[in-house]
Point group: C2
Chain length 311, copies 2
């Protein structure tokens, strides 16, 4: 990490990935400001929260001018599971994200890291390289993120802002939305219920949110510009992932492979080529998949065992 | 043209191309509403003008709701010659255009035609086909228009709006910005001054604004969705274009080829494949290049001969 203390504005800083990034940035000594749409957001000590709806141009401009950050980490987006792929909310977030970049530059900002997605690569997927794999998104989420990148890169150059674009692969960790893969399987098995799964032969690249947050903080601290994949670089079948969760919960016999039909455009292989992240950024994960899943299952076990946690 | 009278909202309807489209739509019997950023815009009889700044979300939403149009023709954009290629205003117009599409759908709109550009094809250019020629824009103008198309197409599908995307090639006609090619050469030669030109060997596709307006009206009236080039389909060198202007003004000896260095990324050939426009839309130009240039030079001659026109 850079030794200098910077003022960093984080959008989505109370979200699943964002809260881990905020923790890392705070630990590194930065003055961290998060934007939240509601009061009373849970943030680490020393982090300043600003209440604003980023989709409202006036509120967005006000908070960005108020913070006058050196660096921006823009993670906020519409993320409702299932709805996210084709919701028109993606378009509103694209509009807001471009406005945010303009507002940040107008307020004197110098460096931005924006969250992209492996969905930019589209359904052909494969082991995805930042430059060599075509950008062919198959849904409005991937299309909107890819369009944001295509415009933000030359716009940032015009605005005098350094831009790093991070294509984030699959995430798991504490606080995940309960209908997403690792969370839903862990919760069902911890409750002693059967967990319906698809065939599970899809290969994916899963990284803990703790490590994704750490990688994002490393990209923000670096002088790297351009596109970088954020992933583990490891090919794992979904079957392997959920089987590990089952071992940690002694629930292997509750897995029901084949009970769910995957969507027709589900790519068989979607994994990050992480040579740029490892070699140019010098970053590597701190948790193995086994360690990360153990921490996550422990977290869900605590939720279950807390008063009201079984609901 | 469709026989039914439709309510049509036209943005950019007082501009170089837009005023010709408005004339065609009015002649076809539609109820035409234009948005203008200022009062007193010059519009044909029967056209209703709404004063609003489309870059202000509240004003945009208000005027779109007020008109509640069936059909939208969105031509407005930042068009300052020279500045247009890399101005950050392109990003603001991208944001506003996406918001406009959402507002139009929310107000019950059913069909939209949006102005794209041959700059989406980028500097390789060639004889450009809508599907076969790669979209590789080389500047922020082309990038922003291409990004708008990439998002507007799936967004319109989600919103239940039919979308036709028109890639407009090179335009000339009355009322052109005086620093653009045909206008600047015509004015200089009519004033008896030398007209500096580049080498002039670039091949382009020029169409009169009268015909571009007619083509846009035809696309709006059709049930076509997807991308369609708007051009003449004729390869003409810039040398040929300005030589015709010179013949019409008896100013051939005032042309100074080679006096201007073209930009390094100037494509040698940028011409529309118009088979889709001709065959699927059944549209063809009403003016030859000679006829269109004669009308244009006459218009500039009238401007010169009016009081104050020599300024």
């Amino acid at each position: 990490m850079a030794a200098a203390r910077e003022t960093v504005l984080v959008t989505g800083g109370t979200g699943f990935i964002g809260r881990q990034a905020v923790r890392q940035l705070t630990a590194a000594g930065h003055a961290v400001h998060v934007v939240s749409s509601r009061r009373g957001a849970d943030v680490p000590a020393g982090v300043e929260t600003h209440v604003a709806d980023l989709l409202r141009p006036g509120e967005r401009e006000r908070v960005v001018a108020e913070v006058a950050a050196d660096r921006l980490m823009h993670l906020a987006w519409y993320v409702e599971p299932g709805q996210v792929w084709n919701s028109i909310e993606n378009v509103r977030w694209l509009e807001a994200s471009l406005g945010l970049l303009r507002d940040f530059a107008a307020a004197g900002g110098r460096r931005a890291v924006i969250a992209g997605t492996c969905s930019e690569y589209g359904q052909h997927g494969g082991v995805c390289h930042e430059d060599r794999t075509p950008v062919e998104p198959a849904n409005l989420y991937g299309v909107s993120k890819a369009a944001l990148h295509s415009v933000a890169a030359p716009a940032a150059a015009q605005l005098g802002v350094e831009l790093a674009w991070t294509r984030i692969f699959f995430a798991y960790g504490p606080g995940e939305h309960p209908v997403r893969l690792v969370a839903s399987v862990a919760r069902r098995l911890l409750a002693g219920e059967p967990a319906p799964c698809s065939h599970g032969m899809q290969e994916r690249d899963y990284l803990s949110t703790q490590d994704i947050g750490s990688a994002l903080a490393a990209v923000l601290a670096a002088d790297f510009t351009g596109v970088v994949n954020i992933g583990s670089g490891e090919r794992r079948t979904l079957r392997e992932i959920v089987s590990k969760v089952a071992e940690l919960t002694s629930g292997t016999e509750l897995l029901r492979f084949g009970a769910i039909t995957p969507p027709p455009d589900d790519p068989p292989l979607l994994v990050a080529d992480v040579s740029r992240l490892r070699e140019e950024l010098g970053w590597s994960p701190s948790l193995t998949l086994d360690e990360g899943l153990a921490l996550t299952v422990d977290w869900w076990r605590e939720q279950r065992d807390q008063p009201g946690g079984g609901a």
